[in-house]
């Protein structure tokens, strides 16, 4: 068998094998899944080392009319995406084993779906044929639907919503593929080169673009991510919308906008993509500020961060593209880590409601540490990885000059709001005060800790040794000169300079200086006081709990009625195209409904009007 087929066939077959396990045998199924995903990971590492490879087989032909090729192509870009897909697969399966260790409800078929998802994702990434890619996309949508349907309360509506939105975008992609086949006569991605000067080209691009951003979860097709956040178990959230779908969606976006259509900087389509990106950054993070549920809040950030990627890739500026792609990788890492932490909270505490939680840092030190690392990464605090990729996007936007400075402002401000949102999370989950009923909460188990620690360490490494991922993964995948150069341990662009290694070392030295100051002081003579000082009042623990959910109430509620309305909408649906279409559809149905009033004369008059119209058409119009 061809080496490329292994990574597609093997998880699919092993997934089918786990189907035959008895329903109660979750653990063996999980272990089989873990072994096969680790095996797949090793295989992808080998493929990554291999660099380039191709596989081609015509599956069927329909005379001269149509031909379907099973074409796979491995090269710089997709080899690293594939590597990370397999890595996330292995981590999530390991985590899931811990997550469902004692849960008797969840059937082993979960692992089947995860393995099949891995297989379909690998095929989508490797595919060199648009139709094959589309088929994989559909399979992924179906598997997502099935996975969401395994969730808790409210999973039916969520799954339906996911299926509707992704189904819609898949249909759009299908139309795009048909147009490309009819007009350009080939579906092979590597040989397609379509000009966006023609209307057909633009329409084809927009249709494929819809498919890509719906998968990645950018506005306006984002609402399936927050909708599935609450009912879906955390491992699924961490696997699909947080990491895999970002990799896939942005991979496709980069492929179509850089390879197939080669969008140029300053063109209308580039501007459109950047507006989508900047809008997504800003609106999603504003909505995230007011969320009361940890998983829902994280899901809005999963939407918001896509904005940076779309902004970077869509700008067409080499430095920003590098930043956007690096952000895709970083986002997959830290958002996966964040959802895994949320999973620990969900599992051990039993709720992800931010009003209930608080003060868990002491009981869950490892989870707290990993969460603080990934939270600082997503907020773009130097020297973590999120900062480097955002910084690269800023550099690119500045180099373009002109009105791009607006996007630059939005991007930087969005990052400040992200920080605000995660300060709220850290406060209301881990710091602050704990409710007494949660005193017995335990730390996550070993299988759950390992992926979290691994991802947190990856965040630190990719932040400090940013040259490692940039040189190994990102730069080879962008054709031509990138404008990002590496000097010793630093990253340099034409407009800026950042040396994370020096910054980290110096910060560490600063920490030591601070600790020396403590040592000079009498910090060893610490008195653990009875209670905090609140102006002489004596309150009990419950009265002193201040959940973080109202941190930003002044900003969201008291400034301006229009502003408040935006947030209200945000908490419910958030500029949700799905709901808007639902409402439009409903009003159309209402009109049709009012026609069916059951009165014979109404029906008769409709018949007569119809006859009249028909006669008119037959007599005059033809």
């Amino acid at each position: 068998m061809h080496e490329l087929l292994y990574v597609i066939v093997m998880p699919a077959v092993m997934g089918a094998v786990t189907l035959f396990f008895p329903k109660k045998a979750r653990l063996p199924a999980g272990i089989i899944a873990l072994i096969s995903s680790v095996w797949m990971f090793i295989k992808t590492v080998k493929l990554f080392g291999l660099g380039e490879s191709e596989y081609f087989r015509t599956v069927f032909t329909m005379g001269d009319v149509f031909q379907f090729d099973f074409a796979l192509r491995l090269y710089g870009f997709n080899s690293f995406v594939l590597l990370f897909i397999a890595m996330f697969g292995a981590l999530i399966i390991l985590y899931s084993i811990g997550y469902w260790f004692k849960d008797r409800e969840t059937p082993g078929i979960y692992y089947t779906y995860i393995l099949w998802t891995l297989s379909a994702a690998a095929c989508a990434v490797l595919s060199d044929n648009l139709l094959l890619l589309l088929i994989c996309w559909e399979v992924l949508t179906l598997l997502l639907y099935l996975l969401v349907n395994m969730g808790g309360e409210g999973h039916e509506t969520a799954a339906q919503k996911c299926f509707t939105i992704l189904g819609f975008s898949d249909a759009a992609m299908f139309l795009g593929v048909i147009i490309i086949w009819l007009v350009y006569g080939t579906l092979s991605i590597s040989s397609l080169s379509i000009s966006t000067g023609t209307t057909t080209g633009v329409i084809a691009f927009l249709l494929l673009f819809t498919g890509a951003i719906a998968k990645a979860g950018a506005m306006p097709l984002h609402s399936w991510v927050p909708a599935m956040a609450k009912p879906t178990p955390a491992p699924t959230m961490a696997f699909l919308p947080a990491s895999l779908d970002k990799l896939l969606g942005i991979y496709l976006l980069a492929r179509i906008s850089l390879d197939i259509f080669s969008i140029r900087t300053g063109s209308g389509l580039s501007l459109m993509m950047m507006i989508v990106g900047a809008g997504t950054v800003l609106f999603a993070v504003l909505v995230a500020l007011v969320q009361h549920d940890l998983k829902k809040l994280l899901s809005f950030h999963a939407v918001s961060q896509v904005g940076y990627m779309v902004l970077g890739v869509g700008s067409g500026i080499p430095v920003a593209i590098v930043g956007g792609l690096f952000h895709m990788l970083n986002h997959a890492i830290y958002k996966c880590g964040l959802f895994l932490s949320a999973g620990v909270i969900e599992k051990r505490v039993g709720t992800t409601d931010l009003e209930e939680l608080g003060g868990l840092a002491k009981l869950m030190p490892i989870t707290f540490l990993t969460t603080i690392v990934v939270a600082m990464s997503i907020s773009g605090v130097p020297p973590f990885n999120g900062f480097v990729s955002k910084w690269l996007v800023y550099q690119g936007l500045l180099q373009a000059g002109g009105y791009y400075v607006i996007f630059l402002i939005v991007a930087i401000f969005g990052s400040a709001l992200t920080l605000a949102s995660f300060v709220k999370v850290l406060h209301s989950v881990f710091l602050g005060r704990r409710q007494e009923k949660f005193d017995g909460v335990r730390e996550a188990g070993f299988a759950m800790q390992v992926p979290m620690i691994f991802l947190a360490i990856l965040c630190i490494i990719f932040g400090i040794y940013a040259r490692l991922p940039l040189e190994k993964f990102i730069t080879p995948s962008v054709a031509g000169s990138t404008g990002v150069s590496m000097q010793e341990m630093a990253v340099r662009t034409a407009s800026g300079y950042w040396n994370p290694v020096a910054a980290t070392v110096l910060m560490a030295v600063g920490l030591i200086v601070g600790l020396i100051i403590y040592a000079f002081g009498r910090t060893r003579r610490v008195r653990i006081d009875e209670n905090v000082w609140i102006g002489g009042n004596i309150l009990d623990n419950e009265e002193m709990r201040i959940p973080g959910t109202h941190f930003y109430k002044t900003v969201t509620d008291d400034l301006n009625p229009a502003w408040t309305a935006l947030f209200k909408d945000g908490q419910e649906g958030a500029m949700d195209v799905y709901n808007i279409w639902g409402r439009i559809g409903f009003s159309v149905v209402q009109v049709l409904r009012s026609l069916h009033n059951g009165i014979l004369s109404t029906y008769l008059s409709w018949v007569i009007i119809g006859l009249g119209a028909l006669t008119f058409v037959l007599m005059f119009a033809l």
Binding site: F413, V423, H427, G496, L511, I517, Y518, R527, I528
Partner: protein, 310 residues
Amino acid sequence: MDAAKYLFSYLIFPGFLFTAVAGLLATWVDRKVTARVHWRVGPPWYQPFADMVKLLGKEVIIPAGARATGFLIAPVVGLAAATLASTILWMANLYPASSFVGDSIVVLYIMTIPAISMIIGASASGNPLGILGAAREMKLIFAYELPLVIVMLTTVYKVGSFSFEEILGYQSANGIMMGSVSGVIAFIVAIFCAQAKCGMVPFDIPEAETELAGGTHIEYSGAPLAVVKLNMGIMFFVVPIFIITMFWGGVSLAGWRILTTILKYVAIVTIMVLIKNTNPRVRIDQAVRFFWGPMLVLSIIAMILAVLGY
């Protein structure tokens, strides 16, 4: 540059030692001027240092409900970040070609870390007043960050680069940023943002001594309180230097220019102290309205003027 040189510049000059001494002296200037405005005599110049020494000798109290590690480590992280920001700024000014650590966007981000660490510290203390202070601090951050980013970008836009080297080179070649209309407007906005960043009246809302009894600082005592005070001193030193670098041609210690540097710094500090002493503390919603209202409009005007070339 080798590691020893980096370490020297971070620890001694222009890093920790220099910055800490200068920062504490700056707080003395603040206290002295405030006292004169109040028609008091004010403290002697060594008062901030004496305060430090005394605080170091005091017992450290940790409230029973606090997350002790986070509570104690937070001010230290803030100190490390504030020192790093100061070192980057001074190195960029003194040795423009050194490419030390990072550019202006890096400094902008690093300058928020002290505030974040105070929020984490207050949140870890478990004191409700501290938590109120933390919430206000965060709101204040994203309130002033928007106009601050825009006015910073007016300079960056004109220069076409984030790097201090280019920003300073541009100003020495084409005259300081403040020489243009957009530069003056940007400078005014930046001063107000600096006021908030340094936590000075009218924007000392997170600490609010008379209302929250210290807010974010409420539970700190002894050595940690000394570090917190040192942080505030350093920020009071760093933020004006950042503004001078971005809009006023930078600082220098060579020959006579040392005098102009001190004059620039003292001018900004005097403006800030005068604003502090002639205004009452505003509420947090008023502060947000102020920064997202008039300040945002001014900063956008500055941006438009910069784009038009004024």
